[in-house]
């Protein structure tokens, strides 16, 4: 970190010396009042963080910056900043998780997993295939399934229960367990097919 340029992310100061508790108290006061100098300083911290750590979101930096300001103002007004870290560290933390949330949203849209319950024609047309399943992809598939399906997989593969026993556990007939598992299995297969298709498209690009 010491070798990074002055505008590198995570640096506690702003070029005017290290940030102190007193400085931060004054900044918070200024930010709350809408002081343009303080706003610019905080804005610069956010932009530096985004530029260095999330260059892939370049087209969205403006929107992300606004979102971070909104969250920061809300937190400051609610006295959520406890002063355990410098204000700059606190701001960069908000910037980080705001950017990660955006990356997650982009990836969910790309993979189509947010709408996994809506099976598309392309899913139906794609066979899951017999190639070995990458554990990373498998984990994505499992987490894309509805909670009820994940519970069924847990009962079958972790607790090793038969369908009659699961039925007793869930107070439903064994036939219902088989039928629910059938739908969960279909969803898993469609998710595998969809993720493999997305991965193949990514490779072609």
């Amino acid at each position: 970190l010491n070798q990074l340029p002055q505008d590198a992310p995570g640096r506690a100061g702003t070029g005017r010396g290290p940030s102190t508790g007193d400085d931060d108290a004054a900044r918070i006061d200024g930010y709350r009042r809408g002081d343009p100098d303080v706003f610019s300083e905080v804005d610069r911290w956010i932009r530096i963080e985004l530029r260095h750590r999330y260059p892939g979101l370049l087209n969205e930096h403006e929107d992300l910056c606004q979102t971070v300001h909104q969250k920061l103002l809300k937190n400051i007004r609610a006295d959520r900043y406890a002063g355990r870290s410098t204000l700059r560290t606190y701001v960069t933390g908000i910037t980080q998780h705001t950017a990660i949330d955006r990356v997650r949203e982009i990836r969910r849209q790309r993979d189509g997993l947010a709408a996994l319950t809506r099976v598309t024609v392309a899913d139906r047309a794609t066979r899951p295939g017999v190639e070995p399943l990458d554990p990373k992809l498998l984990h994505q598939v499992l987490l894309a399934l509805p909670a009820a399906c994940r519970e069924l997989w847990r009962l079958v593969f972790v607790e090793n229960l038969g369908y009659q026993e699961i039925g007793r556990r869930l107070s439903v007939p064994g036939g219902t367990v088989k039928s629910r598992m059938w739908h969960c299995k279909q969803k898993a297969m469609f998710a595998v097919a969809r993720l493999r298709r997305v991965a193949a498209q990514g490779k072609r690009k």
Binding site: L133, N160, M189
Partner: protein, 261 residues
């Protein structure tokens, strides 16, 4: 494979893998497996799932921690128990581990321009637009030959060709109704034969069912012809849901909007 096989034997695959079937059912399933390619393909995936769950247990099924917790864990801002839970997840989840590497400054997120969900480049937009235009022009030729200009008032009847779509897609199908005429749709329905007879439900913009039809047994030249009567379809947004036989979840959606001319 017939409907009965899918309805009974096929459902037993997960328990065949765990060896919890009764011996007679296990034997029956083994026999079924030799003739069922789809079961054999699915078995490979379920085997992988079983092995991973066996190795990592239910931690593999836990939701991703929030972005805030990932950031907090990397920066040492979480309570010990919570931080340990996030670290366990990071050990299993490569996508969250990648996010943690951005927070730690070990890497940067650079691939939005190659992610399909990211903001598209101008060149890509134009190439998509050109592709869609070509498909529309070529796809409309047969309809043009049969019905005349599609979407242009002929004074006889308007016919609209809809490709199957997912609800919420950006596709926009807006039809101006001829006074006193129904809206006629030709729907691309590429469902397997075992999905028939189909059930159709027309749902309006307020999620109310305005028309249902069951027992749709065949298609005309691979397309489903649907007539949306004047009384059923006043101006507004609609979704036609297509259900396969015995299914409670729609297999296909067709979104469209009717406007008064």
């Amino acid at each position: 494979m017939d409907q009965t096989a899918h309805g009974t034997i096929h459902e037993l695959l997960p328990w065949y893998l765990t060896g919890t079937l009764q011996p007679n059912l296990a034997g029956e399933f083994r026999e079924h497996l030799s003739g069922c390619e789809s079961c054999r393909n699915e078995m490979a995936i379920l085997e992988a799932m079983r092995a991973e769950l066996g190795q990592h247990g239910e931690a593999l099924l836990e939701d991703h921690p929030s972005a805030e917790r990932v950031v907090g864990a990397v920066r040492g801002e979480l309570a010990d128990d919570d931080a340990a839970a996030v670290r366990r997840h990071l050990a299993l989840c490569s996508t969250c581990a990648e996010e943690a590497s951005w927070v730690a400054g070990e890497a940067a997120f650079r691939d939005a321009t190659t992610d399909r969900g990211g903001t598209p480049r101008i060149g890509r937009v134009w190439s998509w637009a050109a592709g869609i235009a070509a498909v529309l022009v070529l796809g409309s030729i047969p309809l043009f030959l049969v019905f005349g200009p599609v979407g242009i008032r002929t004074g006889v009847v308007e016919v609209h060709h809809l490709e199957s779509s997912q609800r919420g897609s950006a596709q926009s199908n807006v039809f101006a109704r001829q006074p006193g005429q129904p809206v006629r749709l030709i729907l691309q329905v590429d469902l397997p034969p075992e999905g028939f007879p189909l059930r159709l439900t027309l749902v309006d913009g307020k999620e109310r069912t305005v028309h249902s039809q069951s027992g749709v047994t065949s298609l005309l030249d691979g397309y489903l012809h649907y007539v949306c009567a004047d009384a059923d379809c006043p101006a507004g947004r609609y979704t036609l849901e297509v259900y396969e036989s015995g299914s409670t979840e729609p297999a296909l959606f067709f979104d469209f909007e009717v406007v008064e001319p």
